[in-house]
Amino acid sequence: MTRFLNALRDGVGFDILLVGAALLFLLALAGAPLVYNVLMSFQQVDMFTLGVLFRPFVGFDNYVAVVQQPEFWMVTRNTLVFVFGSMTGQFVLGFALALFFAQDFPGASTIRGLFLVSWVMPGLVVGAIWSWILAGDFGVLNVILKSLGIIQNNVFWKSDPNFSIWAVIIANIWLGLAFNMLLLSVGLAAIPRDLYEAAELDGANAFQRFWTITLPMMRSTIGAVLSLGLIGTLQQFDLFPALTEGGPANTSNVAGFWSWQLSFQLYDFAKGATVSVMMFLLVLFASVIYVRSTRHEVRG
């Protein structure tokens, strides 16, 4: 007994205790809901069975029904456009800003810190602000674009099916930009300065230094930023109700918002769960690719 207690206080037992606590936490708060969600996607759910665990099993009926919804392919396409559009925008602009603020000029780090403001803002607030900026008849953006002579007539960002998904993407890029920039700045700061000095002595120009030093040294940071970006974009929700509500006619509806709509507006909890399981598979697929692509490399 004493040996057991000793091991618990100081030794393998203590390690197991710590790992066990973390695992238990993970299983209870992430694992169980996940399993419950998957289970629900194979069941028939209505208000009488909402509170019970074992409901009538319907196989893949929910999946078939979701794919057969007329809006399914449009939502799929929108989700891909939204994810790639947002991630590209956030990453490219974030990287550019990170490189810019990595230069040594007065106030660089202060201004970089101020960028965090956009990341601190709640999504609903950002959505409401962008909703005013992007308004059709009285929006600020239309006034600016008109006075610059870029457009002649107002662009109805939120109501035009050609622009609605881009309205949300623009707001989402602004929202996620600071987070990308910050993570990439940390990566940049970790690259030893002497590498650049040596390259400069060898006569490498700025582009060569970026291509052969910065990018390869940043590989793991970039991988992390992109996978976090994918997850963050797929789970983006607040901007949709605040900006377009997925409309008009589902042209800006994405999987995450659709899943919420099915569950909490149409009260079809099984289909909502089904869509979220499909999203989960997509993220899983992306993570596997990410893990596989970085498995064999030597990290700096």
Partner: protein, 410 residues
Amino acid sequence: MQFTKISLLAGLALGALVAATPAQAEDVTITVWSIDGANQVGPSDTFSAEFDAMDNGINVEYRVLQFDEIVNETLRAYATGNAPDIVSLDNPDFALFSSRGAFLDITDMAAQSDIINPEAYFEGPLNSVSWDGRLYGVGKYTDTIGVFYNKDMFAAAGIENPPKTWAEFEDYARKLAKPAEGVYGATLSARGNEEGTFQFLPVIQMSGGGYENVNTEGAREWLSMVKGMIDDGVLSQDVLSLGQWDSTGTFNSGNAAMAISGPWEIDRMVEDADFDWGVTLLPTFGEGDERSSALGGFNLGIMSTTKHPEEAFKVLEYFVSQDDRLFPEFGYLPTRGDVELPASGIEKKDAALAVFQEQLKYAQPRGPHPEWQKISKAIYDAEQAALTGQMTPDEALSQAQATIDTIIKK
């Protein structure tokens, strides 16, 4: 070990029994859920507090919920056995619960009651609380939609009367639009949510259809007409994303000559609009054709899981007995015809009210159907797809019809 567990349980049970006994002698508590009081003082919160203050052995515990949450909260509470005794729901959401027996059948209680008389209610509100010929609740208040029009703009354009038909509505809107000054001919809400269906379904109904039969000639014509007006800048494209409150805001600020909306706008319009305005009935397709309008408003029902049906019914009776205060105190229209609405003394408001009371005679409920929300999505999706030009009106309405058929057949 086993023994101690059992004795522990027995002890607990005994303790619970002892604790429960004095509670029986105490007052009965009835919980009421509603959205009243979330933005402004409303009838349910006021009447609950009044009833609670009475010394009659019944306490009322009132809980305010947000509009977007109340159905979900009630579903969750019902599934986990914590449902309130009385809940107030938007009328198209009511059938979700009444069709499954989650609301208490009050047909017999109402027959005995001196206060609740089902025959006094307007047909629309009554239908929305009925299921299979039984009564599951009462209408709390109601509203509908008509056309507000800017009399100054009409006079300036030499138009004497408000539009009676949709053809006149389009004609006048085209005459009244002044794109250079940022004035649209009209505004409405074709938003991708219940509000879109709220304004579009009456058009389907007055053209001979209904929620189970949406692809009517009139509905197709109307969609083509509205799309043409959006394309020509007579209507703002933002009618696709604006709710009724925001859409009518552009009318109040003089940026639209007509607005389709309801009596909830009247008080704000009296304050905000610095021009002469009036209300007219929703246009029809031909002069003297069938009329229709939307039926809005909330219902009250007793949940079937209540432990105190008698007391809950008494609370409900009290709410109904105060119906004559709905309009003067809260600006809501009662759901029954036997309540006198006193004149407010504000000329425009009283005139508007008379029109909306007339319009209420033609108001038809959405549903009732237990899966109304899905039917509604099919309808507003079709409207949006047609108005954005993604589909022709016929394609959009056929697709909606196919979706609705699968829902209704189930």
